[in-house]
């Protein structure tokens, strides 16, 4: 198991849950982690069409996205948490947007900004090369409609996304989860990373061994 797998959030979460069965503490940790994540959403410097002008207006001093901790536009997907897709995505551009999304580190969030990215917009019927909504190829966290949206709408989208992040569970798995980890592998439902060491130690004796 390499360094990456050892430090992967799923593996760390598993170890935390095994060593800290007190779920109340983990819920407090959840709140702190979510607060940190939602208060420092770094968007990617990335605009496709006219919606990007409004996005720049939100970043500027009059509307000031930095009030919500989301004003640090990063010029690389490797340092960004939030991808604001601002503008019409056509078939040629969709691959690039998909690649940018794949290059972002977890946790990552996507805002579909404007009518084009929500559902095709004015190109809904006659846009032969326009992807009718970016949720065809990337998961979208918040849709902000408008053509283009007002800056207040984008701020509302940021606030909505922050509320969504605050409601997430990071360390705790579920409401009625009992910490019984004997022979349980890490759930592949979130990222699919499997911990081989944790998988190869069944505490419950099977019929073959008994």
């Amino acid at each position: 198991m390499g360094l990456y797998e050892r430090n992967h959030p799923d593996v760390m979460m598993f170890k935390l849950e095994r060593n800290l069965p007190d779920m109340g503490l983990l819920r407090v940790a959840d709140t702190v982690i979510n607060w940190g994540r939602s208060s420092s959403l770094w968007p990617m410097t990335f605009g496709i069409a006219c919606c990007a002008i409004e996005m720049m207006a939100v970043g500027a001093s009059k509307f000031d996205m930095d009030r919500f901790g989301a004003g640090a536009f990063r010029a690389t997907p490797r340092q960004a948490d939030l991808m604001i897709v601002a503008g019409t995505v056509n078939a040629k551009m969709a691959e690039v947007v998909k690649r940018l999304y794949d290059q972002m580190p977890e946790p990552k969030y996507v805002m579909a900004m404007g009518a084009c990215t929500v559902g095709g917009g004015p190109y809904w019927k006659h846009g032969y090369n326009v992807v009718k909504g970016i949720d065809k190829f990337v998961p979208v966290d918040v849709h902000v409609p408008g053509c283009p949206p007002r800056p207040e709408a984008i701020l509302e989208g940021i606030r909505f996304l922050q509320r969504k992040i605050m409601a997430r569970r990071v360390l705790t798995r579920g409401e009625h989860h009992t910490p019984d980890f004997t022979g349980v592998s890490v759930s592949p439902g979130t990222t699919g990373i499997q911990d081989p060491q944790l998988n190869t130690a069944p505490a419950v004796p099977t019929e073959a061994t008994s």
């Binding site: 078939a91 040629k92 969709a94 032969y128 090369n129 326009v130």
Partner: protein
Amino acid sequence: MNTQEILETLNKDGVGQGITLFEGPKDPALVIPADRLVGVCEHLKSAPSLQFDQCILVTGTHMTEIRDKKTKEVTRAEGIEVIYHVRSLRHRALVALKVHLSLEDPRVSSVASIWPAADWHERETYDMVGVVFEGHPNLKRILLPQDWEGFPLRKDYEFPKEYRGISLEVDPPWPQQ
């Protein structure tokens, strides 16, 4: 210098064979046979009395068939029309040239060697309407991806369902008309 005078000048210079004057509802144009386009364009650029040295626009149109309402005769056959707008800065004149091509095999000589500005315009015309410009230095699609199928501005173009695994369809689908 209007289009009628330009045609008279071309006739006087001896290059006006087969060129007709198209008097549309708004703008007149010169309809040139496809095989004589390059010669006429070279004369338009080089003749001192004309000096059309700036190419404004090259575009193409899919012209549908038009029938007479009473006699049902075909008054305009279906085909592709390539339109050139060229300007003479010296004589302050603008002229439109038209070339009629068949829909099955739209081919015309390139004028990119005469006006370099026509290079990308002809690529766009090839991209959208599918006109093949013979002698063009780099005739490939300029806006759409190279592996795109079909020419979108033709009347019989069918929208693609997907491109490289990304769906281009609407969910819910379009209402049937």
